[in-house]
């Protein structure tokens, strides 16, 4: 996440994380491993609902999800406890100042996250489009 944050800044964009816990939970999360980008919270899930992000009781129990979890454990992942709604799934959006949504990915299950390269490619295409229009 840190590496993509630097790349996103290089394109003149900002990376903002939005969690579904309280401000106190967010501050505790940030304190344990301070982030070099903005962290907001949406404890009422208003943004999550507006973005039509999914919630699923069963999302953690699908075989593919369990495999991803064990793979993450083998890779050294050690969670710090769950704070916020554990059934709320996430999503990623790249939004331009024009209001144009250049990238959108809504998670359908746990561990279903976009590759950073997808987001960066969208940013790069946008930035190249700006550079092209500036020279014409």
């Amino acid at each position: 996440m840190r590496a993509i944050g630097s790349e996103i800044k290089r394109f003149g964009a900002e990376l903002v994380l939005i969690g579904n816990g309280t401000p106190e939970q967010g501050a505790d999360f940030d304190r344990k491993d301070p982030l070099p980008f903005r962290l907001l919270v949406d404890p009422e899930l208003v943004g999550y609902k507006a973005a039509e992000l999914k919630r699923s009781l069963l999302a953690g129990f699908r075989p593919r999800t369990m495999l991803r979890f064990f793979s993450a454990l083998r890779g050294g992942y050690r969670g710090h406890g769950i704070r916020g709604n554990p059934y709320q799934l996430g999503g990623v959006f790249l939004i331009l100042p024009s209001g144009n949504v250049r990238y959108s990915r809504v998670s359908s299950e746990l561990g279903d996250e976009p590759a950073a390269a997808e987001v960066l490619t969208s940013l790069e295409v946008w930035a190249n489009g700006l550079a092209t229009s500036a020279t014409t």
């Binding site: 501050a27 507006a50 916020g84 790249l94």
Partner: protein, 40 residues
């Protein structure tokens, strides 16, 4: 209506509890919004 129009008026909060209108995040520059599953 695209998702940006729907999200723009939504109020999230910073870590001090101050409201932040999501639309302000992309007013001047592109924003990559990552809605997390949960903290932890």
């Amino acid at each position: 209506m695209n998702i940006a129009h729907t999200l723009a008026p939504v109020q999230a909060h910073d870590l001090e509890g101050n409201p932040v209108r999501l639309g302000s995040l992309w007013e001047d520059k592109p924003a990559v919004l990552v809605f997390l599953r949960h903290f932890g």
